[in-house]
C-alpha cells in the first residue's frame, strides 16, 4: 500500500488519470484526422462547459445525474457484482417518475407528489434488477449477462408504454405530456437546468462515504467484494450482501432516471438518455470504486459530455466521440501497470 501522504495521493491520482489522458490523446488524434478545425473541436470538448454561466449550469445538471449513476455502479462493484444494466434501470426510473408526476392526483402539496415520483423511480429501478439480483444470489447466475439482457428489454418496455398508454397525443415524438411546473425540481441557476438534484447527489455521496467507512454493513459489503470466501468464514452471507447491493444499485440508477425526468427533461421521452446509465459503470471504475474518486470522475465526464455537445455545434466532430473515449477508458481503467511513483522507491512492498 502506498502511504497516504500528499505525494502518495498525487501519485495515485496521476496513475488513475492515465487511462483518461490516453483516451483524451487518442480523441485528439481522431479530431486531427477527421476534423477541419481540430483545435476548435478540442477546446470546445474540454472547455465548452466553461464558456458561459449557462454552459456551466448545464454541465452541473449533467454532473448531478452522472454522479448518482456512478454511485449506482459503485454500490454493486463494492460487493463484487457488476451491474451493466444501469441504463435500463434509469429508463424505468425515468418513466415511472413521469407517470407518477403526471397522473397521480393527491389532496396534498405538489412537492409531496414530486417526492413520491422520486421514490417511485427508485422502486422501479430496484424492481427492474430484482430478477437478476435474485438469480445471482440464489443460483449464482451470471449477473453480467442477466443485467445486460434486462438492459435491452427496458427501452422496449418503455417504448410500449410511451407509444400505447401514456403518449402525448399532440406530440410527434414518443413522449409523455409535460410535468406540471409546480412538480419540477427547483432550479438553482436559471435559465440553465441546474436544479436541487445536485444537492441530492452530494448528499448521497456523503451518505455512501459514511456507510462504507463507518458502518458494519458497509464493511460487510466491501469484505464480500474483496474476499468472498474470507467474508463467508467471518459469518457474512455473501449471497445476501450481493443481493442487497444489486438492489441498491438498481434503486440508485432509478433515482438518477427520476431526477432526469423531474429536473431536466420534464417529461418522459423515448431515447432521452445519452448513456447516463451506461456511463455509471465507467465513472465508478474511473473513480476507483470509491465515492471521492467518483466525484472527480463524474465531474470530468460531465465536462466532456457537455463539451461534446458544444463540439458538435462549433466544429465538425460528432458527439459520439464521447462513446469512443468511454471505451478506451474502460478498456484500460483496471490496469495496474500505470502505477508510477516520483523519485522514491517503495519499501515493504
Amino acid at each position: 500500500m502506498k502511504a497516504k501522504t500528499l505525494l502518495g495521493k498525487f501519485e495515485t491520482f496521476i496513475s488513475r488519470s492515465l487511462p483518461v489522458l490516453i483516451g483524451l490523446v487518442i480523441s485528439f488524434v481522431i479530431m486531427l484526422i477527421i476534423s477541419d478545425q481540430p483545435f476548435t473541436a478540442f477546446v470546445s470538448f474540454i472547455g465548452g462547459s466553461f464558456f458561459d454561466l449557462y454552459s456551466f449550469g448545464s454541465m452541473l445538471s449533467i454532473l448531478s445525474i452522472l454522479l448518482i449513476s456512478g454511485l449506482g455502479g459503485m454500490v454493486a462493484l463494492k460487493a463484487g457484482a457488476i451491474n451493466i444494466g444501469g441504463e435500463g434501470q434509469l429508463y424505468l426510473g425515468a418513466m415511472t417518475a413521469a407517470v407518477i408526476a403526471i397522473y397521480l392526483k393527491l389532496p396534498a402539496p405538489d412537492f409531496v407528489v414530486t417526492i413520491l415520483a422520486i421514490l417511485g423511480g427508485m422502486l422501479a429501478g430496484a424492481l427492474w434488477i430484482l430478477i437478476p439480483a435474485l438469480l445471482k444470489s440464489l443460483l449464482n447466475v451470471n449477473e453480467i449477462v442477466t443485467t445486460l439482457m434486462s438492459d435491452y428489454m427496458a427501452p422496449l418496455l418503455t417504448a410500449y408504454f410511451v407509444n400505447n398508454v401514456i403518449r402525448n397525443p399532440m406530440s410527434g415524438n414518443a413522449e409523455t405530456v409535460r410535468i406540471p411546473q409546480t412538480m419540477q425540481l427547483f432550479k438553482l441557476l436559471p435559465p440553465s437546468k441546474l436544479n436541487i438534484s445536485i444537492i441530492l447527489s452530494i448528499l448521497l455521496l456523503i451518505c455512501l462515504q459514511i456507510f462504507y467507512l463507518r458502518t458494519k454493513s458497509g464493511l460487510k459489503q466491501q469484505m464480500v467484494g474483496l474476499h468472498p470466501s474470507f467474508a463467508e468464514a467471518m459469518g457474512v452471507k455473501p449471497q445476501k450482501v450481493i443481493f442487497t447491493s444489486l438492489l441498491a444499485s438498481g434503486a440508485i440508477f432509478g433515482l438518477s432516471g427520476a431526477l432526469v425526468t423531474l429536473g431536466i427533461e420534464y417529461r418522459f421521452l423515448q431515447g432521452f438518455s445519452p448513456g447516463y446509465g451506461s456511463l455509471g459503470l465507467t465513472i465508478a471504475l474511473m473513480g476507483g470504486i470509491a465515492p471521492i474518486g467518483i466525484l472527480w470522475s463524474s465531474i470530468l465526464y460531465s465536462v466532456l459530455l457537455y463539451g461534446a455537445t458544444k463540439m458538435q455545434v462549433n466544429a465538425d466532430v460528432p458527439f459520439s466521440l464521447v462513446f469512443l473515449l468511454q471505451g478506451i477508458i474502460v478498456l484500460l481503467v483496471t490496469s495496474n501497470k500505470f502505477n508510477i511513483s516520483f523519485g522514491r522507491r517503495e519499501k515493504n512492498e
Binding site: L139, L324, L325, Q326, G327
Partner: protein, 313 residues
C-alpha cells in the same frame, strides 16, 4: 413452404450469427478467459464488412476485412489483459463500448448518417441455390435460399468439435482451463493458449458480424448486434462450454429470435415480442445454473465445468 418449414428456416438463419460467435466463445470459455467483448467484436466486423463491401461492391472482401478488424480488436483485448494486467471482464466491457463508439463515430463521419446506413445496389453474400435441394422433401426448402454462410458455419462447427476433442491444440485449451499451473509445469504457455482462443473468438465473431451486415441486405445500424454477443456468451454458459451443447443452446436462442419475428404479425405488441430472445437467455442461464447445482452435488471431479466469471480486484 409450410409454417413449420418457415419457422425452421427462420431459426437457422437467425441462429447463424449466434452459433458462429458461440463457437469461438466456447474456446475462450474453455481456456477460462471468458470473452465479454464478443458483442463488440461482432459490431466492429459488421461495420467494416459493410463499409468495404459497399466500397468495393464485394461482400467477400468485406467479410475478410471484417474478420481482420474483429481479430485486431480481440488482439487489443488480449494485449490489455495480459500486457497491461487489466481485469478481463472490465476490459471486455471496454471493447464493447469502444466498438460501439468507433462504429457510431465512423457512421456519422464517413456516411453522415445519424442512425443507420444502407447503400443500395450492393451485392450481398450469395444464397445457397443448389437445384438438387429442391428434390429433397422438407429439408430442401429449409436449406434452399439460406446464406452461404450456413455452409461455413456447419464446416466450422465440425472443425471446432474435432479441434476441441481430438487435436493437440484442443487438448491444451482444455488443460489450460482445468489447471493452469499444471500446464505451465509441462511446458505449455497458458497465456499463449488464451490469446489464441481470444483470436479464435475474434475470427468467428468476425464472420458473424459480416453475416449480420451483408447477408440479406448491405446495412449497418448503430449497435445492430443488439446483444447477440452476450446471447452467444449465454449459450456457451448454457452449453457448459462444450461445442455441441453450446451450439444447440445457440440454436435455441435463434429459435426464440425467429419466434419473435414470426409473432410480430400477431396482436401481441411488437415490443414484448422483441424481448423474447433476452428473456430466453435469462431463463436458459437459470436452468443451466440449477442443473449445475444438482450435478455438483453428486460429482465434484475436475471434469465438472465451472464458468470462469469472477471479479478479482
Amino acid at each position: 413452404m409450410s409454417d413449420i418449414q418457415y419457422f425452421v428456416f427462420a431459426t437457422i438463419s437467425m441462429s447463424i450469427p449466434i452459433v458462429l460467435t458461440t463457437l469461438g466463445g466456447v474456446f475462450a470459455e474453455r481456456a477460462r478467459i471468458t470473452n465479454i467483448g464478443m458483442e463488440g467484436l461482432m459490431l466492429i466486423s459488421s461495420f467494416v464488412s459493410m463499409a468495404i463491401a459497399a466500397h468495393l461492391n464485394n461482400p467477400w472482401i468485406g467479410m475478410f476485412f471484417g474478420i481482420i478488424s474483429s481479430m485486431l480488436f480481440a488482439l487489443i483485448l488480449a494485449l490489455v489483459i495480459f500486457k497491461f494486467n487489466c481485469n478481463s471482464i472490465i476490459a471486455g466491457i471496454g471493447v464493447n463500448l469502444l466498438a460501439s463508439g468507433i462504429t457510431w463515430l465512423l457512421l456519422e463521419y464517413i456516411y453522415n448518417e445519424p442512425g443507420a446506413y444502407a447503400p443500395s445496389g450492393i451485392d450481398t453474400l450469395p444464397k445457397i441455390r443448389w437445384e438438387f435441394l429442391k428434390t429433397l422433401p422438407f429439408i430442401g426448402d429449409i436449406i434452399y435460399n439460406q446464406s452461404v454462410v450456413l455452409v461455413i458455419t456447419v464446416v466450422l462447427i465440425i472443425a471446432g468439435f474435432i479441434v476441441m476433442r481430438y487435436t493437440q491444440f484442443g487438448y491444451w485449451v482444455r488443460a489450460v482451463g482445468q489447471n493452469e499451473d499444471a500446464t505451465r509445469a509441462v511446458g505449455i504457455d497458458p497465456i499463449k493458449i488464451k490469446i489464441a482462443t481470444l483470436l479464435i473468438s475474434g475470427f468467428t465473431a468476425g464472420i458473424a458480424g459480416a453475416f449480420l451486415s451483408t447477408s440479406s441486405m448491405v446495412v449497418f445500424a448503430i449497435n445492430m448486434t443488439a446483444g447477440r454477443g452476450f446471447i452467444a456468451l449465454g449459450s456457451t454458459i448454457f452449453g457448459a462450454g462444450t461445442v455441441i451443447g453450446s451450439v444447440l443452446a445457440a440454436l435455441l436462442f435463434g429459435a426464440a429470435e425467429a419466434a419473435s419475428v414470426r409473432l410480430q404479425t400477431l396482436t401481441i405488441p411488437v415490443q414484448f415480442v422483441l424481448m423474447l430472445p433476452y428473456v430466453a437467455t435469462i431463463i436458459a442461464l437459470t436452468i443451466s445454473s440449477v442443473t449445475k447445482r444438482l450435478r455438483t452435488k453428486q460429482d465434484n471431479s475436475y471434469e465438472t465445468f465451472v464458468p470462469s466469471i469472477t471479479i478479482q480486484r
